[in-house]
Subunit: 402 residues, 2 copies
Amino acid sequence: MSQSKPLAGVRIVEFASFVAGPSAGLALSQLGAEVIRVDPLGGNADYRRWPLSNRTGESLYWHSLNRGKKSVALNLREAAGRELLLRLATAPGPDAGIVVDNAVGRNWFSYDALRALRDDVISVRVEGRADGGPAVDYTVNGGSGVANMTGPAYTDAPVNHVLPAWDFLCGQEVVSGVLAALRRRDRTGVGALIQVALSDVAMATVADLGWYSEAAERGDRARHGNHLYGSFGVDLVTGEGDHIMIVTLTPRQWQAVGTATGTTEVFAALAASLGADFGTDEGRYAHREVIEAVLKPWFAAHTTAEVEAALTAAGVLWGPYKSASEVAAEFAAHPEHEPVLTAVEQPGIGGVISSSSPMRIDEEYSGSAPAAVLGADTEPVLAEVLGLDDAELGRLRDTGVI
Amino acid sequence: MSQSKPLAGVRIVEFASFVAGPSAGLALSQLGAEVIRVDPLGGNADYRRWPLSNRTGESLYWHSLNRGKKSVALNLREAAGRELLLRLATAPGPDAGIVVDNAVGRNWFSYDALRALRDDVISVRVEGRADGGPAVDYTVNGGSGVANMTGPAYTDAPVNHVLPAWDFLCGQEVVSGVLAALRRRDRTGVGALIQVALSDVAMATVADLGWYSEAAERGDRARHGNHLYGSFGVDLVTGEGDHIMIVTLTPRQWQAVGTATGTTEVFAALAASLGADFGTDEGRYAHREVIEAVLKPWFAAHTTAEVEAALTAAGVLWGPYKSASEVAAEFAAHPEHEPVLTAVEQPGIGGVISSSSPMRIDEEYSGSAPAAVLGADTEPVLAEVLGLDDAELGRLRDTGVI
């Protein structure tokens, strides 16, 4: 069954920091590309980003986002170091000359500067705002409208997401951009400048859900806590205090809730008395609070194991809540339960919980690999890609360029 | 500057519902592919998903996620309808034979069934869990650990995200999978089965941040509300009650906050008295509450416009909070401020707020297009792709297959 990885032979140069660009490089590496990450000597601004390992002080974050890549470190304050990066990014070959960066505002690394060295270069660039303004995930989230919809119904303060969702989505857009531009270059010989602004990712995504059109028609929807919008779904608490999310997006899922909890007749009588139809999304959403109230006692009267067994037996669509430490503990005890997670021995840190790409190709996970020690591949990459010999490498070392 | 769209000539068949699969089809369409969405007669389970338009009752959600695609509607309860879908998905041609679906558990649409008709078919499949269990965004989110980290510091109940982030990320993985598999097929002639489970997307993403490794080392981090983890960033409230998010990920960004708010000397004295170094991420994070408290009065003493002007002048990294209706109102007044958003006249609804892809290719946005009326393209697509003639189409109509 096993074939070659789909991007085997493709070389990407990544010159990026924080989440968006590095997550793109990670995904491209998991698809089989050779990803050469270039950092300034000593590391980029994200090299010490939290969380740090208690064991060694190294960044669990940086070493997770940069695994499976080659690491080149260059003195980018020197023209000679910059020139090496430009030459790596524009090296010849049909499967090279592709660069991912977030180096907005650095004229020496502009698309024109890259094109001057390779006319058909593919430059994919992560930006803050498309108008050139600075932005990061945490500053664009509020502007998208999402923070004002998130959180408990009783608060009217915005609630930030903790997951940098816009960053990761932007990173995946970068992957699509690389692959789409490479396909066009293969066919037509033309390169591409592809720009993805975090702010645009956020606004386009919210627009794709129809939420701005909704707000234009009738103003902002009320904040509704953990309730699913437009149907019935909410978290309920078992007798052991565990939260369980249940979701009913179809009539069958709704019927299953009644079956599992023995409330079918209660809801039939309730619907009749309210003149409501709980078989519809609208009916369930309108009466979500009373539905929740009717279900609460059953959840509270059962253990978590009883609740889970009954929900599963009846075909309810449900999911548990776990803390990150519970996920970690379950992985330690039963790694086979979540095969997308993998144990990796990370130089500089020790054993870490890593992951495959979520994409299984021909029924196989990608597996994982550690991050390279910063700069570990500088000399081999310069030798292999740029053809530098030992004397030239020695000179670069002596002059502090590498 | 304008070149052909990168996926011009590629044909994708989409047989999917809700967010993940349809968002992938939308993105592929924005890259220039011909996307043929197939629905059961009358629409799939998401055809009436909220938000609905007040004007006509049609789904703003469905019509946003399915724009720019051709719409084919088939009676999939009949073998003849299923056969048409299978033939569309496996039609010949180097740029065809690619299908995106979330039809888990339908044996008649299995990879083997597709391969029997076209050996090199590319089948990209959205799943709930990789083990075959059902899951949607709202049930996997709790299991990832993220809901337990999100929300105000004073609550210990999980806070669901409102954005279906895992769905959208999964959709982008699907796009990458399509393009990577197509590249491999172009080179080697082999097709691919690519599976992406929502649950795996969530767990892999959290692992990519190092958060499970962190929890394995030292348990769960404390919930910290809207504060940025591992440095200083939080929302502050202006004299007009508007929230403003500020972020300091670098020493320069931190210095800018002092400059903008006139607090440089206060923080110098405070750091000395605390024995802290606010120039480091660690120092700012450890003392985030007192930093916030020192900044609050300045924000409260200024109008929103004054705050924004001072922050921008000093080079602070900041962003406003807006509600969705504020985004919509600003778009109506100044569409040029957010050029990723576009106005589209949607048949069946009227004017809506739509968007381009966030990816600008050669400095151009993709633009937007309305969704087709359900089934509007059934006959032309069957004629063009499968070569059915008028007599055959008439028979399909008469027997209720189309």
